[in-house]
Subunit: 348 residues, 2 copies
């Protein structure tokens, strides 16, 4: 398996992202293709090989890219005017079938624009969505889609997120009969804004709609797939992180005076930090861009080596389970393997 | 000071709400007027007096209300067709100036409809907003407005929330120069949905706009007042609660095997629960409905005696600081005591 890693355009230096790529290649037993400045990548790879006293260094394919897309660049402009960037070149390499997935910590809007322009959308999908995989206290994982690709959505977009989300939950999260929830501010069907009210009606026509879910119910594992517009989904993720982080900080403040509490906290804090980190990983560990014709994983801009390694792992799982083909099949054929009870309104 | 408590229409029995009212009256040194079924209220008050062996029981004013507005009722219909409900009668009593504030755990939509119809809006306010007071790890409190009154908003609504929020922060939270943040999904001004983009432009014209804030920054006390539409604000609050609750539950799971951890947790868990509870209190402890011509405090539907007592405390603070008059003045006069740098577009 070959996975392209865009080592430029993230917040951290390319050397750190390259380290993550090398770790993934070794740990996950796959080939990582690096997209970025050739001299920089070669230098970094050989420096790391020397550090580890490896004589025969492994050969890596490098996609040379002299241009850099920054976080401040306007997405579509950037993709059009920087054809020699690691992002555009990497996506083109994916399109040509020379690799099976693309991972990037660059400007999210630009990744999406490049994927849309170069790979195109899956038939039946109007807008791709970014899925975040969040942990719950039961150990089960939940896919929230969209968490930032589309800040203003129509009900039909959310319906399509639900369809793709179910395929993802079956194929990647291993849920045989995924339940879909609509993120809302109350459980009753009359609750919510115009988008939620209209979406409820559309989702009811799917066989596996569990109704409205509220933010505090999601982490309890109430459903498997949560749909919402990208603005609300992004607010939700950051608020989870904020609530968990504040609780951990509060804990640290509370322990300063008591010996036993300090002892207990000494043991507990690492576990708590793990949980908090796994909540953050929803944003930091690699989020699939669902709806484009290729496996594209968005890593957080601030990804370190570990986050990059994790994002490459998410990409590898998607490739192994033939996710894209299965989403295409799930959308194209009402009684397909995806097992969705689709309405007749399904775009075909 | 006289505060009306609506003891019907909450999720819990009236007896529990009455207990909260009696505690508030005693603890806060004010008079609580009970709105609800007279026989029920009188019976409960005398039962509690007997329990405590009080001979001369204190007299309480009761607003008799034979009708009940339920959580399932459509707000405007309910207010129109149940004029003898505790909600409508209580609000009318407030309008007549016979009390200074009204507290209710009933159907939020119905409380808002009754307040709008009977009390009217403050001049310059198109739609009232529900403010939630949330704790931060620094100890400082932050007002988030709106958290559920208006699920679909125009930019102008958010601007008005900002103006009212600043008066609240000055008068109730004691912040001399409150900073306003716009809840968004990134710090850059070009980020966000159509509502956020347009609102940014409007808020820039206020003197105290601190720019966009993200969910995880709010609990760190980045700003004093956060504005958003009621759908997003409600999602935000519930996600904070969810993140904090999940962290506490995770902590409990983690301690099951280690003696010192168990000992530490034994000491820590109460403190953590306090923090979690204070995050919940943002929803449960009494949220001011800002923008109507009277002090109206919305208690959570599931309020227990303690939550009711807390909501009555919030009401008392608003009355004492002459909040409504100060909001009216803040909106009416650009260089008023509210100290806002208002734009020339201010409705007058």
């Amino acid at each position: 398996m070959r996975i392209i890693l865009d080592v430029q355009g993230g917040d951290r230096p390319a050397s750190e992202l390259i380290a993550g790529g090398l770790q993934a290649a070794e740990g996950l037993g796959l080939e990582v293709i690096f997209a970025g400045d050739r001299a920089l990548i070669e230098g970094e790879i050989s420096r790391r090989a020397k550090q580890r006293h490896l004589r025969a260094k492994q050969r890596h394919i490098i996609i040379h890219a002299p241009q850099i897309i920054t976080m401040a660049d306007s997405p579509i402009e950037a993709v059009r005017h920087k054809p020699e960037s690691s992002l555009v070149r990497g996506i083109e390499y994916l399109r040509h079938g020379e690799a099976q997935a693309f991972v990037s910590p660059a400007n999210t809007g630009a990744v999406m624009a490049a994927a849309l322009l170069k790979l195109g959308r899956i038939k039946g999908i109007d807008r791709p969505g970014i899925g975040a995989i969040i942990p719950t206290i039961t150990g089960k994982k939940v896919l929230v889609i969209d968490v930032g690709a589309n800040v203003d959505c129509a009900p039909e977009n959310l319906r399509q997120f639900a369809l793709m989300g179910c395929v993802y939950a079956r194929q990647i999260l291993g849920v045989a009969q995924p339940k879909v929830g609509l993120l809302n501010i109350g459980s009753e069907r009359r609750k919510g804004n115009v988008l939620a009210l209209k979406t409820f009606f559309l989702l009811e026509q799917l066989g596996n709609f569990a109704g409205n879910v509220e933010g505090h119910q999601i982490l309890e594992g109430a459903v498997d797939v949560v749909v919402c517009d990208g603005f609300v989904g992004n607010v939700l993720l950051k608020a989870y992180e904020g609530g968990a982080a504040a609780t951990v900080k509060f804990l640290k403040q509370a322990i300063s005076h008591d010996f036993f509490a300090r002892l207990g906290a000494f043991i507990l804090v690492p576990a708590l930090k793990n949980f908090r980190r796994s909540l953050s990983a929803a944003r930091f560990g690699g989020a699939p861009l669902l709806g484009v014709r290729g496996v594209v994983i968005i890593a957080h801009g601030n990804s370190d080596a570990e986050a990059i390694r994790s994002a490459i792992g998410v990409a590898a799982n998607s490739v192994r389970s033939e996710l894209i083909a299965k989403i295409e099949r799930g959308l194209g054929a009402p009684s397909s393997a995806a097992g969705l009870a689709l309405s007749e309104e399904l775009p075909s």
